[in-house]
Symmetry: C2
Subunit: 315 residues, 2 copies
């Protein structure tokens, strides 16, 4: 694959990091499944875009379906390049619009079965673009955010503390900035609702220089399992019934709405000829819609909206 | 409500037509439900946008949920106006971009419970825009299309014949043109799949003059029940099991993908501050996603893709 950065050793390093991160995370999820009778495993599906398509590249899609703890868990690595950076890929670097580009990342969404265990999303990515004859510019993006169906303050606090801890070595101002950015990004404008309790989000990031910015990206990736698994362990055995499952399906409908209507990555991917099944790993196994659902005030379903899906300082 | 066309008698006429069309269609659906023990009724939800919002207007949302024959059936009338026509609303009239506009229409999506009964969509709408100091321009849009989960040639043929019949009085060339337009519009680019077996679609239509164009719109609206109900009657008692329901949920996921990713009306509505719950009447009651589902060649599920979700001459 001819890419702007083919010969750059930093790229090979980021690539190796991302591949090992995917392996580490999916192994940890499989270990949780393996501890359950009838636990599921990830299917690993390597793919390569045939030459001649608009986007070139390859990836490894890992997907676990119908597990005991995870109903649908997708974790993809991809490394693609294209002749023209789409405008949606960077809002802040107009000088690179239309330049050949290269992008690689790990992206995951885990949808647990138990409605008391929150859905989680994490993404770490590097993008590089090089206009003809110029040196390549690299930048980083990503973050993680938590989407509970039933809210627990201690889970939101733990998740946010983990995010803060991952960023602290790189500057005290990063967490509050990226936390606010996450609240702004994961917002369903057409519903007036946050997607979840937030976390961190950043994009077009290179201000610490290539090396420190890359180290920050890796610190975020490395923090993921400690941010999420304790929450899974704490909630996965809580008893639930059809009421909680129904509410979970309903709220998963919002997850679908966000990803298909507002998420830049999903739009960029689907409209630029990305691999649909890999992009749509984020879809829940099931979702439901019903007209103007109203939950009784004071119920945990109503409190999700009023106490958790709002912009709050969780620390 | 101050609108560009407030005083225009043709507008009042179209409005009255649309309101009676909504009543006629929802009554026919209720009659089918009423013939079943425990059949459901439509909830009628009148709404009005409070003054001061970007879009003004009002509407009547009718929704039937959890019926015996229809699992979710939404049929909305709306009449809105705004200070600035969004670019997505007309691709062919750049001179009107940004002009005050007014739009009214009836839009419906019916999701039956029995997987052998296809989902259907119909929409008829009028848009008018008037740049400052100029006379208003009116145009029409809409159509209907059928989305089976299990394909039956006679259903597709009947539906297309009905569409052809509705358009024939206005010119022999309209049906083939609008049929092709429908195939092009209801196409999931990221999947390389048609949404269903098609029907007719038109937009920015005014070429027959205001009066004849309006008559054509009404002919399409009037044809809907005869196009769809005989198919419902023919299929609604067919026995089915969990296999068919599962496939239906999976294919409904495609319906969600089309509407949220590609449908201009949905995007225009959600992004311009339309009423989410009314716009999302089109969502199925339940949808499911699974990774790279493969159906055995020759099975009815596989044949849906190879024989029905392709561009075909159904007459």
């Amino acid at each position: 694959m001819a890419t702007p950065l083919q010969a750059n050793p930093a790229v090979a390093q980021v690539r190796a990091y991302l591949q090992s991160l995917q392996a580490r995370i999916t192994e940890a999820i499989e270990a949780i499944e393996a501890a359950q009778p009838g636990g599921a495993r990830f299917l690993a599906d390597g793919w390569e875009k045939p030459p001649g398509e608009k986007l070139q590249g390859q990836g490894l899609t890992k997907i676990l379906e119908d597990g005991r703890v995870f109903e649908r868990a997708g974790c993809g690595f991809s490394h693609v390049s294209g002749p023209q950076l789409p405008p949606s890929a960077t809002q802040h670097r107009p000088e690179l619009a239309g330049a050949p580009f290269e992008a690689m990342g790990v992206s995951l969404v885990f949808h647990p079965r138990n409605p008391y265990v929150p859905t989680v999303h994490m993404n770490v990515r590097m993008i590089a673009a090089a206009p003809a004859g110029a040196a390549a510019t690299c930048w980083f993006g990503g973050g993680m955010d938590l989407t509970p169906y039933y809210g627990f303050e201690e889970d939101a606090v733990h998740f946010h503390r983990s995010c803060q801890g991952a960023l602290a070595p790189f500057g005290e101002q990063l967490y509050p900035r990226f936390k606010t950015w996450c609240d702004e990004y994961f917002y369903l404008k057409h519903r007036g609702e946050q997607r979840g309790v937030g976390g961190i989000f950043f994009d077009d990031f290179a201000e610490l220089g290539m090396q420190r910015s890359q180290a920050m990206l890796q610190s975020v990736g490395d923090a993921f399992l400690d941010a999420y698994l304790p929450i899974v362990q704490r909630r996965m055995a809580m008893p639930y019934g059809e009421r909680e499952r129904q509410f979970q399906r309903y709220r998963r409908g919002r997850y679908v709405e966000f990803n298909l209507v507002w998420d830049r990555g999903t739009h960029f991917g689907l409209q630029s000829g990305g691999r649909s099944e890999s992009i749509l790993l984020s879809m829940p196994p099931q979702a439901a819609w019903s007209y103007q659902r109203q939950d009784p005030p004071g119920s945990p379903e109503a409190e999700l909206l009023t106490r958790f899906l709002v912009r709050r300082d969780w620390l």
